[in-house]
Point group: D2
Chain length 268, copies 4
């Protein structure tokens, strides 16, 4: 791991978060010869490559940007979005519940803007893979651009399809559905999963949870769980520590289950 490469300095191909004093942030993939343009002036990538992580560069108009490694949250926030994005709190949790990590083979639908696709691709590389399905071509192209921009396209297969027609995989470790009526596709999900494989879904309403629970019971899924996560952030002031005044009260209900082998109907 500790190669001769200097890990404290920015390399070509690195994704850099440029953070200005005006709190505006930009994600840039370092390419020798390229130029970063902003309303505050431009900076040549070559002036950034080789710099220390955490250092400051200035535009030709003398405006300063700090050079930071982005968090996954910042990567997702930087996505060009045309749909609701899955929140980092929910992504982190589903990664734990579905045991996603290096080497996992994951099926996802719908792709949407690709925020979750991107997060999962980073988690499963280099040996794992994300197979993502989306019926709307224009959405799929947005997602593909978002994923490609961060250099993650080798780890993602994009398929335009109504998933009623089924998935091409049959031994996936996990399937995650972020669609309006996930209960309509449970036989297809089951066929895509290996035995005991992880199913996950995110739905906003209690009515959808109820419909999905009924569907899971009739489609050989077991070990069903329903969770929601509330994120409460604090004002980070030592002498006046207190929660923020307002918070996001709801992103969605997370439902998890396991695909049971069909010859084992007595499972819990």
């Amino acid at each position: 791991m500790d190669s001769e490469r200097d890990l404290t300095r920015i390399q070509p191909g690195d994704i850099v978060l440029l953070s200005g004093h005006d709190r505006r942030e930009f994600l840039v993939v370092m390419q020798p010869g390229a130029q970063f343009q902003t309303h505050r002036g431009y900076i040549n990538h070559d002036a950034i490559i080789g710099s220390l992580w955490g250092s400051v560069v200035k535009t030709h108009l003398d405006y300063a940007y700090m050079l930071l490694p982005p968090s996954l949250e910042q990567l997702i926030r930087g996505v060009q979005r045309t749909t609701q994005i899955v929140y980092p709190k929910d992504i982190g949790y589903l990664i734990m519940k579905m045991n996603l990590g290096p080497g996992s083979r994951v099926v996802e639908a719908g792709t949407g803007s690709g925020g979750l696709t991107l997060a999962l691709a980073r988690m499963v590389r280099p040996e794992g893979h994300i197979y993502t399905y989306e019926s709307r071509l224009e959405m799929l192209e947005v997602a593909r651009r978002n994923v490609t921009r961060l250099g993650l396209e080798p780890y993602v297969t994009f398929t335009q399809r109504d998933i009623a027609a089924g998935f091409d995989q049959h031994d996936a470790d996990a399937v995650f559905l972020d669609v309006r009526e996930p209960w309509d596709y449970l036989p297809q999900v089951h066929a895509a999963l290996k035995g005991g494989g992880f199913f996950g879904a995110l739905v906003p309403t209690t009515n959808q949870v109820t419909e999905l629970l009924e569907g899971l019971a009739h489609n050989a899924f077991g070990f069903v769980q329903v969770d929601e996560l509330l994120l409460r952030s604090y004002k980070a002031v030592a002498a006046r520590l207190r929660p923020m005044d307002r918070m996001v009260a709801h992103t969605g209900y997370l439902i998890f289950a396991r695909a049971l082998l069909l010859e084992e109907p007595e499972a819990p």
Copy 2:
């Protein structure tokens, strides 16, 4: 990615969750020739290897276990614990906030029972590494056993040390402290991180948050955030959907920050 290997069947080296109808669960790493013993009878690993994931095996006393891939939550729950374990909801979130994934180099203290160590090791492998520090030798040995049992020891370096003496790393992507007085070690943390690197900590009381915030402000950290996550689980019954009666109300406050380069004192 899709090698000729049959991904739907259990292979030597796989970690299998054996789940009984009595809701007792066991984590077993498959080793040809080995035997799994339980109060319900024994099973030879060779009778499991080659089975379909999700299928059921029986002990010589005819007690049935379903063979499941474990979730990360189940892996952590299986840890021999002598200390409070970091909860999966918090691990998932800190992975997102600190951008941990394949290839990350992470410093952790204290090791405790190694539950977080294990989760992080699975996330950063094969190219990344966890450097974990613990002052109590007996704890370190517990953690080492937990990590080794799951075959993750190649990705972890265990060091017995009072971290007041500092860390051996100087270009870590992230440092996470799960110690009682994290504010005492902030210079050491700063020295271990690359510029802009991620700092995280978990503390249970508001007084500790206040002390840590004061420490961060005096030790060249910026972009400070304080969060907590509440997990609310539901009874997964379609016709009577409702939250569980009781929940864990508090695991800890999560504090995140970035190491600023010292020559840049004016950062936010």
Copy 3:
């Protein structure tokens, strides 16, 4: 208001909370000549009457009890209960939402153990009144004993009835239902309320909320709201302030609405 009566001393008829060092608490209504018996010995009421509120009395076995005015929470906790009790957090909130206070005329069903009945009776006296309905006679008798024990029976009318048969009131300020299928009784509720009167209900499941919302829409109710309250308690330790480890995660969903006059169908 400031009569010649010494408000700092306990009077006949006062309800006293006797609080022991073993954290056991007893509610006793002061009656000259009566005796309070406990496993720690007995005390004559006459030894308590005339004492300062907050002072300490001892049993004949020399065990000490502090003499406190009870909170409404403690009054409710002291109820002989054979059913789930409405929690104080929910009672306080429904009092605000339904504008209950001195003089209010409130219809309640079902009575259950009378915990809510008792709390409401204290709030509306001396001019207001609670009309409470319960189909199970044995429950009604439990509730009557609980209410009578605290001297609140002048403010409560108990009726044994299946409320499908309707209520006797027609100009109530508010109706509160704590029954399993409140949507079955909405015409009866509407008939009991004055125009614009307050309807409230408590149900534990999301499915019940959905059914009730549908019922309200078809029975001339408007201004519908659905709320839930989460109570998070802290360990009251100055140097280690933190939430309790566990909390009640769910008591129920509170639904509020207003009875619309039937000739005004276009109301919101």
Copy 4:
């Protein structure tokens, strides 16, 4: 209770909430001969008095308003406010915890805009009384106007004073402080309370909670509790039931305690 008075019709002196289709609401106290003016036209009070509660009146410009009894929440929302208002969820809870109701004698500081004063005055009337203290004269006058407008001034005594100088009461049932540094006034609070009397306070930061807990321990208070209440509201749509997207994440920490008699130092 059931006088010959028709409770279903609006009487002189009643407080009426006029609710328009534009969701604008007005609180008006009915006075024969008076006129209610709005940008949608005017209505004579005499056209309202005698109407059914829940019915609709129209302005001379033919704009319709529904005539509703206000909830306590709506009464408070109608207050002319120059300061942060205590939220109904917190008022309801403190009423339960401090056992406030008809006949209670309550000391309050600071008065602020009088929102809490008003709510408490309605709860304790006709026999109880609120003694409210405020150092800023202009605030006190705002509060007095708000209380007088609803006809509650007979139940409230307003005093302009820095409460460091102490309160005039010595046998209050309860004292509630909504001031920045409540720990500075604990001896004064203790002197105002009868033995075992209820103390309550609302503070926004954890640092204040810590300081107050230290103060309570040094000033003969016992039975200390720290709570917070989270209100989560739902979209009241039967087919798509779900929490609102955003919520108020924090209003304040509620601290409750009892005044111990000074000669009883061994109390819990």
